[in-house]
Symmetry: C2
Subunit: 449 residues, 2 copies
């Protein structure tokens, strides 16, 4: 949904080089909305409009462009202007962009940046993408313990426009080791005690992220403690940067998408679905599809093993897909419920008895109901009423097996330190398919002789 409301006006302003109006356009709206209004412009036009914004505003509007456009602009516009923009982009977003630019382009831009930005880029480039270091920004309000409320506020006023977040002040000693934090809210409510020092006010029990910590664990901390930002420290507790709440939301989105993909037996894409190379996509899907395929081959072998029975009782064949899919679907329901309950912290491994007990009861209800429907259908296809009983009995057993393994396996994998979202689906499918066939034919054998 491209917003085209402003497009003709914008193009006209550009054609007339109407400085006053273009400057106003860049200033009055929320920068996110300014970017939306520019969506319909070509890259060159958008770049021209950006030049009418002040440097920090320009970077802010730019940050709301789609990533593709951001990269195209950085690749293709004049290196000098690009460098001026890059200087203003917050360090955490900047490093993500630079890592996606071509090496030649980076080599062109880097010499045009101030020395401290260059160093910053080099430093941040060393951290793993999915670690706290890869997420953090280095623009932090660092202050010393001895500052008073009044002094801290003045200091903050100086720094505020350069910092991404000023909602926590980080108190550090001379080695930049983190001593404590003071929230801006505390600072402001202490305005009537202007002589109190940060050292007196600060909370010294600070929740921190280690620079090498996995982003998922960082996001959990931010969520659990309702933080606006979390400080990132090295192993010697030196403050390196902070991770802000908006980056945490991005991480959560990423992790959830990956989980959903894993549950459907796709290795997480790590790239945009529309942009990922088709060969990579096929590989990420093919890996698990092949594993599932081998599980299904075992089912074929099992069925072949029982070919005497399937030939003798030909009418049983029609129900094979029904039985397999009933087991598979109830199994994947159980697995998904257990996986999402574990992910969202509703379920711990110690609850496994409760889970299994509940799943058995639920599977009896579900299995009983579907068995009833299955029985009615079977009477229409089976040679006798007695023979048709094979179907409901098999369905009940297979659905119980599905729920049982569907619930058990994710907890088992979790216990073994494996990723339940990734591993459960193929294993549940494989086990339930084969057991389904074995149960089916053996019930038929027992009853029909």
């Amino acid at each position: 949904m491209v917003n085209t409301l402003f497009l003709p006006e914008l193009r006209e302003m550009l054609a007339e080089n109407n400085r006053a109006e273009l400057e106003e356009f860049c200033v009055t709206l929320n920068p996110g909305r300014t970017a939306e209004f520019m969506e319909g412009l070509s890259n060159d036009e958008a770049w021209q409009v950006l030049q009418f914004a002040e440097a920090d505003r320009r970077a802010e509007i730019f940050s709301y462009f789609e990533e593709d456009r951001q990269l195209e602009l950085l690749e293709l516009q004049s290196a000098k202007q690009v460098a001026k923009l890059v200087e203003e982009i917050p360090p955490d977003d900047r490093i993500d962009l630079i890592q996606q630019l071509g090496d030649e382009r980076v080599a062109e831009i880097m010499p045009l940046l101030p020395i401290e930005d260059r160093r910053n880029i080099q430093r941040l480039g060393c951290y793993e993408d999915e670690s706290a270091g890869g997420l953090m920004t280095t623009d932090v309000a660092m202050l010393t313990e001895s500052l008073t409320v009044r002094q801290a506020l003045d200091e903050l006023a100086k720094q505020a426009s350069d910092l991404e977040t000023i909602y926590y002040l980080y108190v550090v000693d001379n080695d930049r080791s983190l001593r404590g934090i003071v929230s801006t809210r505390q600072l402001i409510s202490s305005l009537n005690h202007p002589e109190r020092t940060l050292g007196e006010m600060m909370e010294s029990d600070v929740v921190v992220a280690l620079v090498t910590e996995d982003q998922e664990s960082v996001a959990e901390k931010v969520e659990r403690y309702n933080l606006l930002a979390i400080p990132v420290v090295d192993s010697r507790h030196k403050l390196l940067g902070i991770i802000t709440h908006d980056d945490v939301i991005d991480v959560l989105r990423e992790e959830y998408t990956e989980d959903a993909q894993r549950i459907a037996a796709v290795a997480p894409l790590e790239e945009n679905y529309l942009q990922i190379a088709l060969f990579t996509l096929s590989w990420k899907r093919g890996l698990w599809l092949t594993i599932l395929f081998f599980a299904a081959i075992l089912t074929a072998v099992a069925l072949e093993h029982y070919h005497q029975e399937t030939e003798k009782y030909g009418w049983l064949v029609a129900f094979i897909p029904l039985i397999i899919s009933a087991g598979g679907n109830s199994g994947s329901q159980s697995a998904t419920l257990v996986i999402t309950a574990m992910t969202s912290g509703q379920l711990a491994l110690k609850d496994w008895r409760t889970v299994m007990r509940r799943e058995v009861i639920v599977s009896l209800m579900l299995g009983g109901f579907l068995a009833l429907i299955g029985f009615i259908v079977a009477t229409l296809l089976a040679p006798s009423l007695y023979a048709s009983l094979v179907i409901p009995l098999t369905l009940l057993a297979v659905i119980m097996v599905g729920c049982f393994f569907g619930a058990l396996l994710p907890m088992m994998f979790q216990r073994l330190g494996l990723d339940p979202a990734m591993m459960s689906n193929p294993f549940v499918a494989g086990i339930v398919d084969i057991l389904g066939i074995v149960i089916y034919i053996n019930i038929a054998r027992l009853m029909l002789g």
Copy 2:
């Protein structure tokens, strides 16, 4: 993982009624961590410890308890102490708790609350749970346009300790109609212009949520515009409250969990997996399981229709599960990829041609590879090399059908205004199962005569 580090000390302090140490325990740590250290205590012990914290700190520590414990404490402790606590809980969390308490208990507590809190509870109780109104808190910093930076800061200093978030100031007129916002960061960076007014500084293009707006749409706005909080207004733009970033994270988690459940064909639970009534759980699972079951019955009918073929070529039977699961798995991969790409905004409906083109190519690669494996296995079971060609040809066709419908249906449902996460799985499974059988038998017929 209950943290038992402090438990013996805590119990000792309680036994000795050691006021000084207990007060210190409630103050020095981050409230989230204080709550964690209390996890091993009984409800009564935890409640005793809480009484040593100051009123607002008590509410803060309490907010980090698990929901079960929160409710038990509110149900069972002295009504007077409970009322004192309830008074301090932020309005949005408070209403959620009160709605879960027994009616009798609520009737006991309500008269003990100050009149404005009672009114607030009644008002917030009217909004839908999953709407902006159901999420918002009413503690907002509302100020008038004419205030100067200096005055605004003084006003904020007075209010700061009562407010959940002070990171945006909302500028309203006499009717509490929202005129604009000023961030605390802007305010602080303007400290050297103490005479500027909020009216001069404010951004009047404010991103707002309508009080009746769905929580998912609210969360998207907060995410898109990187907000710390979003103001909630009624249809006449009157400011009713705000929704803060931590509630948005909760909404995202909820929505993602529901999506994952829908993809696995479970109606969203809306309750904790371990606590939901087993009958409700069976219903939420049984609904879609039954729909999938009826789809599978159609497959049984189709197979029965072809019973001459399955009897004539008995060896074909062994491959039925293999073929159905290959189609089903590739279909659910495609569906999940398209659903998650749409949810995370990577994919818009207008891209459908690209999606379909890419899916066809990927399905050729995946299908080709699995067909090759299938062919090798088939040569072992089929009566001739020629006959065994039925299997790879069927696999290739079925996997293409799976990917095609798996990708198409979620986009179709989205286009029709239906929930793709909910609808796609059953339909893809149903279509692919039946088409799989039809394709299989017809290829066999054509080739084997």
